[in-house]
Symmetry: C2
Subunit: 278 residues, 2 copies
Amino acid sequence: VAASLINGEPQGQVTIADRSFQYGDGVFETLRVVAGRPTLWPLHLQRLQAGCDFLNIPLNVPILERELAGLLASNPANGIAKIIVSRGAGGRGYRPPEVAEPLRVLQFFPWTPEPASPPADGIEACICAHPLSQNPVLTRYKHLCRLDQVIASRELPKQFPEGIMLTDDGLVIEGTRSNIFLVTHNRLVTPSLHRAGVQGVMREYLLDRFREEGCEVDQQDITIANLLGASELFFCNSVFGVWPVRELTHSGGRVGYGMGDMTHQAIRYAQEAYREDT
Amino acid sequence: VAASLINGEPQGQVTIADRSFQYGDGVFETLRVVAGRPTLWPLHLQRLQAGCDFLNIPLNVPILERELAGLLASNPANGIAKIIVSRGAGGRGYRPPEVAEPLRVLQFFPWTPEPASPPADGIEACICAHPLSQNPVLTRYKHLCRLDQVIASRELPKQFPEGIMLTDDGLVIEGTRSNIFLVTHNRLVTPSLHRAGVQGVMREYLLDRFREEGCEVDQQDITIANLLGASELFFCNSVFGVWPVRELTHSGGRVGYGMGDMTHQAIRYAQEAYREDT
């Protein structure tokens, strides 16, 4: 059971009039907490703030940070913190009220490694049938409308810890809860998110780290052929870090991937994110 | 203030763990209540059931109908009823729990005609800048992920009771809370929803009524040029019925529309939906 705060109060209920319940009118972040510290906090906060600005939901950052610190201080040192900023209650229609009282909802979940912690030589993955919605305006924000991810996660057979999602016209975009990178012709690339997907915090962090080390990662349109022809493939998100893929099941069969320098480097970067206050 | 029932109990709060609050993992219907009766109920129920089947959320229809009848019996005779079926609480991730207890959330809002009831000769409308997300799999369901509609409604200047939404590549799809029909070259057409949009109940009802009278309505891709070149244009939804458009403001200026036989016929059909138990 999670511990939770709503606008600083230990509470776990919201009114059904809340617009996140009615319409998905809010944004969220999910962060890994290590030794009581929210990792990659500056990147999470940046995306949260961008989403609130875009939706015109006021966000009091000092209060949020104080509430988060309080939650982390009174819970186990390692876990997952989830922050939802909802526009709040108001209106029967889609149009938000002129003034709403936003909710800052914080939850803490003690760390439980995935039931089957992924093997060091990589996971098995598959390609999901459910297509990702396309909207170029929304990919920079972690908004609450996540039905695509729910549907894709439902269809994912249990033996696959993660699956790859495409647009309905066949562009390879991301995992159900992660972004992807692949090595093709000795170059590290990641799908461009100009049409669909979510700009993940771990993706941003890895792009920055590789760039700092002189390795510019290409963001480009990735086809299924690119995916199947790649030599390395990994998923990343801010909770599990980097998961190399050993084998991908697709309609035509299976394809295997190796773990080369790029994947090992990404794993090291993720470990550093969890070690230091980055 | 709305009256509400959650799984039959007079309640107005849900846990923050509810998946509709966390992910938009549910479906809804908004119905007009006339003389204590939910109008167009068979069509609403059909779409609600289709959405629940698609998401694999069990729906007990006899219990829902009994709860709805109870809510309507204890409230004013005319108003709006909203039904949300949420998957319920469970899980920290996108994947739904194996077994969840779904919520049937019913709300009743007494009838209040829009602040500025639309003039009989039609409304002024505009074209919204925010694009509709595209996902061909989702247009048949009224799911809870409605951020596109929220964003478009926010940008709609107050003098426009409704606005038209496009895909980012310029296809004309629908209003922010309604579908559209237009008359072009003396034929009644409505945008095909094979890529984006919501199959509205009033749209389905009008398609059926026109078809019964021997007027087959074309569902096709509509461009902005088609829209600006049309002779008649109207919005429809199951709460307000049919709203003819008198004038459309767009980036290039304004275009006017007439009210011909097709629009008058649609208005009559909508009135009949509110008169009889259809």
